[in-house]
C-alpha cells in the first residue's frame, strides 16, 4: 500500500514537473497550454492521493474543463500568433529571478510543514461531501455569499471598462 502510493506520487510529480517545464519553455502558445493541462491533470491526481476525490473532480471540471478552454478561446479571438513570437528568456537575470520565485515559497512552505505538521499529513482524512457543504453553508455562509458579490462586481467592472459608453455627454 505504502509503496504503491509512493509510486503514484512519483508519477504524478513527474507529470506536474514535465507539464510545468513544457508550459514555460515551449515557444508555441498552444503547446504551452497543453503543458498547463498536463500539470493540472497531475495536480488533480495529487488531490486523489490526498484522499480528496471531490476536490480532484472539481479541479478537472473547473481548471481543465473551463479555464483552459477559456484561454484557448482568448488566444483564438485575440488572434495572437499561435506559433508564438515570445522573446526567448536567455538572460541570466531572468533565470535567477525565476529560481528565486520558485525557491522562496518552497522554503517557506517547507519550513511550515516541517516545523508544524498537521495530523493529516501522515494519514490523509477524507472529508465527506456533506461536511464540506455544511462547512461552506454554515460557518462560512457569509464568505460564500460575499464571493458572489465580489464576482458580480468584477464582472460588471470588466464590462464597464471593456465596452463603449452608450451615452456620451
Amino acid at each position: 500500500m505504502q509503496t504503491s502510493a509512493l509510486v503514484l506520487f512519483v508519477i504524478h510529480a513527474l507529470i506536474i514537473g514535465v507539464g510545468g517545464i513544457m508550459a514555460v519553455a515551449s515557444r508555441s502558445l498552444v503547446r504551452a497550454l497543453v503543458g498547463l493541462i498536463m500539470t493540472l491533470f497531475g495536480v488533480s491526481g495529487m488531490y486523489l492521493l490526498l484522499n480528496a476525490p471531490f476536490i480532484a473532480l472539481m479541479q478537472l471540471l473547473i481548471y481543465v474543463g473551463a479555464v483552459v478552454i477559456l484561454i484557448f478561446f482568448a488566444i483564438m479571438l485575440t488572434k495572437a500568433p499561435a506559433g508564438g513570437e515570445e522573446e526567448r528568456p536567455n538572460q541570466v537575470r531572468t533565470y535567477l529571478l525565476a529560481l528565486m520565485a520558485g525557491v522562496l515559497p518552497t522554503f517557506v512552505i517547507g519550513w511550515v510543514v516541517l516545523t508544524d505538521q498537521p495530523a493529516s499529513i501522515n494519514a490523509p482524512l477524507e472529508t465527506g461531501l456533506k461536511a464540506l457543504g455544511q462547512g461552506l453553508m454554515e460557518p462560512y455562509f457569509l464568505a460564500f455569499e460575499l464571493i458572489s458579490v465580489v464576482l458580480l462586481v468584477a464582472m460588471s467592472a470588466a464590462v464597464i471598462l471593456a465596452f463603449k459608453r452608450r451615452q456620451s455627454r
Binding site: 515559497p105 517557506v108 519550513w111 511550515v112 510543514v113 516545523t115 508544524d116 498537521p118 454554515e138 460557518p139 462560512y140 455562509f141 457569509l142 464568505a143 460575499l146 464571493i147 458579490v149 465580489v150 462586481v153 468584477a154 460588471s156 467592472a157 464597464i160 471598462l161 459608453r165 452608450r166 451615452q167 456620451s168 455627454r169
Partner: protein, 470 residues
C-alpha cells in the same frame, strides 16, 4: 436579537448597488438627481441601522465584530461615501461620467469597506479588502478617454494585485501556523508560547502588514500614491483617500488590539520604523512639489504616518486619538480633493500651482473650503487638524516615543510651508483666466458647507466628540 440584523447595513448597500445597476438597465438615461438621491438614501438607511444596532461580540459564527469602535468607523465610511457622491455627482455629469456605474461602484465599495472595518475573520478581511479595491480600480479609470486616468488605474492595479497576493499568502501562513482563521484567536495563539507556530505566524503577519501597507501607502510602499491621485478624477481621489484608508485602519486597530503582548513587542519597532519613514516620505517631497494634486497625495501619505503614530500609542493611550485623527483626516481630505474638483474646469482637473492663482476672489466658496482644509492639514489652531495632531502627539509622548513625536512635528512644520504656497496662490495670485470652471450645483454646496463647518466647529469645540470616543 438575531445575528442576522447585523448583516442589514451590508445587505442594504448590496441592494443599493444592484438597484443602481438595474436602474441604468431599465431607464436608458436616468436623471442624475434620481441616482444621487437613491444612492444617498441607501447610504443613510445603512447609517441609521448602524447607529441603532446595539453593540455585540462577534456575530454570525464569529465572522463580524460590532462594538463601539466598529460603529464609529462604519459611520465615518458611510459619511465619506455620501460626501464623495455629493462632490462627484455634478462633477461627473458635466464630464459625461455619471453613468449608473459610478453610483453602483461607490455603493459596492462602501459595502467592502464596512465589511473590512467589521471583519473578525481573515476570510471576511480579505474579501472586504478585495471588494472595495476592485471597485476603486474601475472608479479611478472612470474617465476612460483620458490617458492619465487609465495610467493611474493600471499603476494601482498591478502592484495592488501583487500586494493582494502577499496578503493572502500571509493569511495562509497564519492559518497553517495556528489552524484558525478567526482574527482574534489566531493572533492570540501566535504567541501562546510555542515556538513552532510563532515563526510562521510572524512571517504571516509581516506579509499581511506588507499588503495592508500598500493599500495605506505607508512609506516603502507609497510610490504609487502621487501618480494615482494625480490621474484619478478629484472626487474619486477623495473617496480613495478617505474611505479606503479609514476602513483599513479600523481593521488594523482591531488587529493591534488582538495582538498578545510579546507579539506586539516584536512588531512595535516595525511600526516605529514604518511611521517614521512614512512621515518623512510624505512631508519632505511636498516641499518642492508644484503640482497641487501630487502635493495632496504626499500630504495624505504623511497623514497615514500620523495615524500610524496614534496606532503605536494605542496600547498605552486607548483608541480615542487614532479615532479622532481618522475623523479629522476624512474631513480634511474630502474637503481638499472635493473642492479641487469643483474649482477645476471641465477640460481637466486643476493641477499646476499657477492654475489656482486668484481663485479665492473669483470662486470664493470652494476656494474657502480648500483653504480651510489646507490649514487643517497644516495643523494650524482653530481647525480640527490642530486638535487631532495635538491629541496624537500627547498620546505618543505619553506612550514613550518622544523621538517619533519630534519627527512628526518636524514633518508637520515642513509640510505647512508647502500648503502655505497654495494658500498664497489662492488669495494673493493674479487671476489667470476668469470664469474658469462651472458652478458647483446645490449638492456640492451642501457637501462644501458640511465639510467646512465641521472642520472649524470640531476644531473649536472638540470636547464632545473626544469625550464620546473615550
Amino acid at each position: 436579537m438575531s445575528d442576522w440584523f447585523y448583516l442589514l447595513p451590508q445587505a442594504i448597500l448590496c441592494a443599493g448597488g444592484l438597484a443602481a445597476l438595474g436602474l441604468g438597465a431599465v431607464l436608458l438615461r436616468p436623471a442624475p438627481g434620481l441616482q444621487l438621491g437613491g444612492a444617498l438614501l441607501f447610504l443613510a438607511a445603512a447609517g441609521a441601522i448602524v447607529l441603532a444596532l446595539p453593540a455585540a461580540g462577534p456575530v454570525l459564527d464569529d465572522m463580524l465584530a460590532f462594538d463601539g469602535i466598529v460603529r464609529f468607523y462604519q459611520l465615518l465610511i458611510l459619511g465619506s461615501a455620501g460626501l464623495s457622491l455629493l462632490f462627484a455627482s455634478r462633477y461627473a455629469s458635466l464630464r459625461g461620467l455619471a453613468g449608473d456605474e459610478l453610483y453602483a461602484l461607490v455603493l459596492f465599495a462602501t459595502l467592502g469597506m464596512l465589511l473590512l472595518a467589521g471583519a473578525a475573520n481573515w476570510v471576511i478581511f480579505v474579501l472586504g479588502l478585495e471588494l472595495f479595491t476592485l471597485c476603486l480600480y474601475v472608479l479611478i479609470a472612470l474617465d476612460r478617454g483620458r490617458r492619465t486616468s487609465l495610467e493611474a488605474a493600471l499603476k494601482y492595479f498591478v502592484p495592488g494585485a501583487a500586494a493582494a497576493g502577499c496578503l493572502i499568502f500571509g493569511v495562509a501562513l497564519i492559518y497553517a501556523a495556528t489552524g484558525s482563521l478567526d482574527l482574534a484567536s489566531s493572533l492570540a495563539s501566535t504567541a501562546a508560547g510555542d515556538v513552532a507556530s510563532f515563526g510562521p505566524g510572524l512571517a504571516g503577519l509581516a506579509l499581511i502588514l506588507l499588503g495592508v501597507g500598500f493599500k495605506l501607502a505607508l512609506a516603502p510602499f507609497h510610490l504609487w500614491a502621487p501618480d494615482v491621485y494625480q490621474g484619478a478624477p478629484a472626487p474619486v481621489a477623495a473617496f480613495l483617500a478617505t474611505g479606503s484608508k479609514v476602513a483599513v485602519y479600523a481593521a488594523l486597530l482591531r488587529l493591534v488590539a488582538a495582538l498578545p503582548a510579546d507579539a506586539w513587542q516584536a512588531l512595535a519597532p516595525v511600526f516605529w520604523l514604518l511611521s517614521a519613514a512614512t512621515l518623512l516620505a510624505g512631508s519632505l517631497p511636498a516641499l518642492t512639489q508644484t503640482r497641487v494634486k501630487r502635493l495632496l497625495a504626499y500630504s495624505s501619505v504623511a497623514q497615514m504616518g500620523y495615524l500610524l503614530l496614534a496606532l503605536l500609542a494605542y496600547p498605552a493611550a486607548g483608541p480615542a486619538p487614532v479615532m479622532f485623527y481618522a475623523a479629522a483626516y476624512v474631513l480634511m481630505d474630502l474637503g481638499a480633493f472635493g473642492s479641487l474638483g469643483l474649482l477645476s474646469p471641465v477640460s481637466g482637473d486643476l493641477d499646476a500651482l499657477e492654475g489656482f492663482a486668484g481663485l479665492g476672489r473669483t470662486r470664493p466658496w470652494p476656494a474657502a473650503v480648500l483653504a480651510v482644509s489646507l490649514l487643517s492639514l497644516a495643523g494650524l489652531p482653530l481647525t480640527m487638524g490642530f486638535v487631532g495632531k495635538f491629541v496624537v502627539f500627547v498620546a505618543v509622548v505619553r506612550a514613550g516615543y518622544p523621538v517619533l513625536a519630534g519627527i512628526g512635528i518636524l514633518g508637520a512644520v515642513v509640510a505647512a510651508g508647502a500648503y502655505l504656497r497654495v494658500l498664497g496662490a489662492l488669495y494673493f495670485g493674479r487671476p489667470v483666466h476668469a470664469g474658469q470652471g462651472q458652478p458647483p450645483g446645490p449638492a456640492a454646496y451642501v457637501a462644501l458647507g458640511l465639510v467646512g463647518a465641521l472642520i472649524v466647529l470640531l476644531g473649536i469645540v472638540p470636547g464632545p466628540l473626544l469625550g464620546l470616543l473615550r
